[in-house]
């Protein structure tokens, strides 16, 4: 509990690692995730450090593996192989390189074969298509024939015309089939063309233009017999190529299958190894050059575990001289470590989002576990909505180990899933406040029977039948005997649901409740600050800061709260007309005693230095003004709660009641879609939207109004060297 309240006690320790066993020791520490390493060579560039070559090697291996990932389907499974020993690295490296070479060769071969096949196919197409181009061969003309991409033919024709000034004849026809472009792998349409020209000079130009447009040129047969021969020869060669390609594919598949077994392990191993060398780069050598010195932040409680890990590491590497830990005193502020479990981590995250606490500062998170859902529920008070929310969260909690829920990549879903315990608490508290407000989907529950009786008004002969018929609205008088039989046992009396002045009543109640909750919350924050003063040995602050602060808060707003309770308790229905207005009274009090504010500031002048004085004066003014504005800020509890209740009532009257008012026979069919609409709107607007808004306001009340009373939140988070925290979760690198 103490650890959750204040965070772990940390210490700076020096690790003396024998150079032989350093790798194993760091490996051991990485598996455990105990300590945070400090950089002992901050002035050295990344490429001038000691183990830069090893890191380069790891990167090379990573690159090879990266290339593989496209071809290899990785097996599912949570294997956690240990980092390989330095001597085994070469073996892995060799295997990887062999694999790379082999794969590269096979793929290159395959590509070559495919290109070959394409050429032959193109040639066949060309021969087949150009058969009809030339009816009459003349002796003088020379032919160039080939294929060009469909999109380029027009520009090609134009340039041919312009450059050769008409000394060429171009005929072309489109190939029916789509041929695969070997560079992009996309199917493209090609055009077969035949150019006949006269003269050498023109011929050179034509060839250059063909080059420019990346035409594939093929020799044009001089006679029909030759053409048939070539086509025949091509057909057999294409068939052969197909069989060879098939074989190559099979072989490639085999190679990949073999590789996929070990690739997953290798990926993790290489990552771990790289991390270890990265840490070794942070260490410095001692004078004798025999051992490495590392400086680490470590929780005091974990030092025995750390020792054991080092022993284990030394034992594994078979070193004769053991590595050891040495605590060193330091003036640096250690990082903050607050151990959490799956329940508290959500709340700790809320606090950390505002700022990581200073070392050994009071951590608001344990209190937030209760106050956060409570303040949320005050704004979200509705039994029905609370039940839905709690059930949803409960489902997530019960199935939290389900892989499908856990490993999704949907960011929005993850946010909800991470906060499942917060949502559960919020739902449960909403059920409670819903009961107090007596609101369930904006309707009241009459469980214990209302404390008010209409019948009594008739029995006392105050109302007559004519009154009922003549008036739309009548007032129950609690002073008539039997009309008000005492308060409802739990929460608001359900009869208010029928009353036309319900809103006036609830407003007054919720407004006062917000102020009461706010003052309690803030006073609690001020009281928590004493824990900080006591721990950091600032006793004077106890008298000079805490007491005046508490006095100010309680004398002004504590008194306000007292007045609210006093008015509730002392004035009954009989003498309610005599009840004074708290607001008027409070304003009067303020106007008469306004100088208080200044006196507090002056009080401190005599005791502190100018600097301290200025600081404290600002703090005083800020606190005093802050108290006023913060108290006003808590009125958002009232406002949001009012908005939520009104919105759900509007939804009921505008949607559900329309359906319920229909004729019975028709209404049955009509109710189904109306209920659907009601349900969708309830979930999307009232639960999700309103829930988010109430969440944000609760967040603000904690961050600003509560935490500024005692929490500075300027610390640094402890981030241990741990393999589990490495970006080895492959999603980041796209390896899975």
């Amino acid at each position: 509990m103490c650890s959750l309240l204040r965070g772990e006690e940390m210490c700076l320790a020096q690790l003396f690692l024998q150079s032989g066993s350093a790798y194993d020791c760091i490996n051991e520490l990485g598996e455990l995730g105990l300590v945070e390493f400090r950089d002992l060579n901050p002035g050295v560039n990344a490429f001038q450090r000691k183990h830069v070559n090893e890191i380069k090697k790891c990167e090379e291996m990573e690159r090879i593996l990266e290339v593989k990932k496209a071809d290899i389907s990785l097996p599912e499974g949570d294997v956690n192989p240990v980092a390989p020993l330095p001597k085994h690295v070469m073996a892995i490296m060799e295997q990887l390189q062999r694999l790379e070479v082999e794969l590269g060769e096979v793929t290159r071969n395959k590509e070559k074969l495919q290109r070959n096949l394409l050429e032959l196919t193109e040639y066949t197409h060309m021969l087949r298509t150009t058969r009809n181009f030339v009816q009459r061969t003349s002796e003088v003309s020379v032919f160039i024939s080939g294929l060009i991409q469909r999109t380029k033919i027009e520009a090609f024709e134009r340039m041919l015309w312009r450059v050769c000034k008409g000394y060429t004849i171009l005929s072309y026809a489109e190939v029916e089939e789509y041929l695969e472009d070997p560079d992009t792998g996309e199917p493209t349409k090609s055009v077969v063309f035949l150019i006949s020209y006269w003269g050498d000079q023109i011929g050179q130009k034509v060839k250059k233009i063909c080059d420019c447009y990346h035409c594939h040129l093929y020799p044009y047969p001089s006679s029909n017999e030759e053409r048939t021969d070539v086509v025949e020869g091509l057909r057999t060669r294409i068939q052969d190529l197909h069989t060879v390609l098939h074989r190559t594919d099979d072989y490639l598949k085999q190679v990949l299958m073999k590789a996929s077994e070990s690739v997953y392990t290798w990926v993790i191993q290489v990552k771990k190894m790289k991390a270890i060398y990265f840490i070794l780069n942070l260490c410095s050598f001692d004078v004798t050059n025999k051992c490495l010195i590392a400086e680490v932040w470590c929780p005091v409680n974990d030092i025995p575990t750390l020792r054991r890990a080092l022993e284990e590491g030394s034992r594994k590497s078979g070193a004769t001289v053991p590595s050891f830990v040495n605590r060193i005193p330091t003036n640096d502020t250690p990082p903050t470590l607050i151990r959490t479990n799956k329940f508290t981590s959500g709340f700790q995250n809320i606090v950390d989002a505002y700022g990581v606490g200073n070392y050994r500062e009071v951590n608001p998170a344990p209190f937030t576990i209760i106050t956060f859902p409570f303040l949320f529920a005050v704004m979200f008070g509705d039994l029905g909505h609370g039940v839905i929310m709690a059930l949803f969260a409960l489902w997530m909690v019960l199935y939290e180990n389900n892989r499908k829920l856990k490993n999704t990549r949907n960011e929005i879903w993850n946010t909800f899933f991470e906060g499942r315990y917060i949502i559960l608490m919020m739902g449960l508290f909403s059920i409670y406040t819903g009961l107090i407000y007596n609101d369930c989907f904006s309707k009241s529950l009459n469980i214990f029977g209302s404390g008010w009786s209409v019948k009594a008004m008739f029995e006392a002969k105050v109302w007559k039948d004519a009154d009922i018929r003549g008036n739309r609205v009548l007032t129950l008088d609690p002073n008539v005997t039997g009309v008000f039989r005492g308060p409802y046992p739990l929460g608001i009396d359900p009869i208010w649901n029928l009353a036309s002045n319900r809103l006036t009543f609830l407003n007054s109640y919720k407004m006062k409740m917000s102020v009461i909750l706010g003052v309690i919350h803030m006073s609690f924050g001020v009281i928590l600050s004493t824990y900080n003063y006591l721990h950091f040995r600032k006793k004077h602050s106890l008298y000079l800061v805490f007491l005046p602060e508490l006095l100010f808060l309680l004398c002004l707003f504590g008194y306000l709260v007292f007045m609210i309770f006093y008015k509730w308790l002392v004035f009954t229905a009989k003498d309610s007309r005599l009840a004074p207005s708290i607001l008027i009274h409070f304003i009067n009090m303020f106007l008469m005693q306004a100088p208080t504010l200044h006196r507090l500031g002056m009080y401190r002048v005599r005791f502190d230095f100018a600097d301290e004085f200025l600081h404290q004066a600002i703090h005083t003014i800020e606190y005093c003004l802050g108290c006023v504005s913060n108290t006003a800020s808590y009125l958002r509890l009232w406002a949001l709660s009012l908005a939520h209740a009104q919105l759900s009532e509007v939804l009921w009257t505008m949607v559900m009641r329309v359906g319920l008012r229909m004729d019975t026979s028709l209404g049955v069919f009509f109710l189904v879609p109306v209920f659907g609409l009601f349900a969708v709107l309830t979930v999307s607007i009232l639960l999700v939207m309103e829930g988010l808004s109430a969440f944000l306001h609760a967040l603000r009340l904690h961050w600003v109004e509560f935490q500024n009373k005692f929490y500075s939140g300027t610390g640094v988070k402890f981030c241990p060297f741990s393999f589990s925290l490495l970006p080895s979760s492959f999603e980041h690198d796209g390896l899975l």
Binding site: F47, V52, M159, R162, V163, K208, D211, C212
Partner: protein, 353 residues
């Protein structure tokens, strides 16, 4: 300003994108670290920690400077084509205008290569990929500028810049340079007037940049023409007329006969005076070209101070090009072990830390 309201509807996404890319431009510390490298492998390691990421790591063979250069160009092309394919008019036209200058350079390089009887297949990889076009490989066929225009380039966007450049004289090395200058003159004037028609902040940002570019060409043409048989009138026909030097400065430049006279012309313009000023004692010697580059970088960084205009796209491409030049320079120095000259790169965004 009218553009403010509707700019983001059409071009907001791309402007955001380009500003994001701009944040990836190497900083002072990056250059400092790069300059400390001993091998190209070290540079690769360092570039991995920048926005270039794994750009260089995928290559299997040993790194060479030309490989670095082509990878950098490829990288720029990827970024540019991402911008271009998402652009709507008039931004798309604007982006096309940026590519035209690279196309002109490619055409000139191909012709010079063809004159030296080089193979096209050998020349093509050396062309800047931003200025690639379909008819590129056929450029070498042309013998005269007229032929070049009417047979090959008439279908390309470069055709519009050929009004003044058409001539029947044979293409030799001198003629190619003149062709390049004429094309550039037409290109810059056309780009300048296009930016003017867009108006708004695009005009305010782009016109000074293009005017500087025009004047730089005029200066460089003048300086390079010393010692050749290019006459004054020939020379003045090559000067782009959209710069700040137009018209008085250009007529003075046309009459200049040595470096001192060019300097005298530049002295009349405060913006160019600093470029031709003698270097301060203590600072290293810089070529005229480097000084112009420095000034260009300065102008281009200014474009990012305002929003809702196209200048950022132009400036980003130019800055990125300068960055590539810097990296290649450092890589050259590293491979040739010329550590003393390694600091002659031109840093971009000096103030940012």
């Amino acid at each position: 300003r009218p553009g403010f309201l509707s700019f983001n509807v059409n071009h907001g996404y791309l402007e955001g994108l380009v500003r994001g890319m701009k944040a990836g431009i190497l900083t002072r510390t990056d250059y400092h670290n790069l300059a400390q490298c001993d091998t190209l492998e070290d540079m690769k390691l360092h570039l991995q920690s920048t926005d270039y990421g794994k750009m260089l790591s995928s290559s299997e063979e040993d790194l060479t400077v030309s490989m670095v250069d082509s990878k950098l160009r490829e990288n720029l092309l990827t970024e540019f084509s991402c911008l271009r394919s998402n652009a709507l008019p008039p931004l798309s036209t604007f982006l096309d205008y940026i590519t035209y200058s690279y196309m002109i350079d490619n055409v000139v390089m191909l012709i010079t290569g063809a004159l030296k009887q080089r193979d096209v297949a050998e020349l093509l990889p050396r062309c800047h990929p931003l200025g690639a076009f379909d008819q590129m490989a056929a450029v070498g066929i042309a013998r005269t500028p007229t032929e070049l225009y009417s047979a090959i380039l008439v279908d390309t966007p470069l055709a519009q810049f050929f009004q003044d450049a058409v001539s029947e004289c044979n293409l030799d090395e001198m003629e190619v340079e003149i062709l390049r200058s004429k094309l550039f003159k037409a290109y810059l004037e056309s780009f300048h007037s296009f930016c003017k028609t867009i108006g708004g902040d695009t005009k305010d940002i782009m016109c000074p940049v293009l005017e500087f570019e025009a004047d730089r060409r005029a200066f460089i043409i003048t300086v390079n023409s010393f010692g050749t048989d290019l006459s004054c009138t020939d020379r003045s026909a090559l000067y782009p007329s959209c710069g700040k030097l137009y018209p008085e400065g250009l007529s003075l430049l046309a009459r200049a006969e040595d470096h001192e006279q060019v300097k005298a012309v530049a002295n009349c313009y405060p913006a160019y005076k600093i470029i031709f000023d003698d270097p301060e004692p203590g600072s290293g010697f810089k070529t005229l070209e480097d000084r112009f580059f420095e000034q260009e970088v300065k102008l281009n960084t200014l474009a990012f101070l305002q929003q809702f205009h196209f200048g950022v796209f132009y400036s980003y491409i130019k800055l990125k090009e300068q960055e590539s030049r810097n990296i290649v320079w450092i890589a050259e120095c590293v491979t040739q072990r010329q550590k003393s000259k390694i600091h002659n790169y031109i840093p971009i965004f000096q103030e940012t830390t």
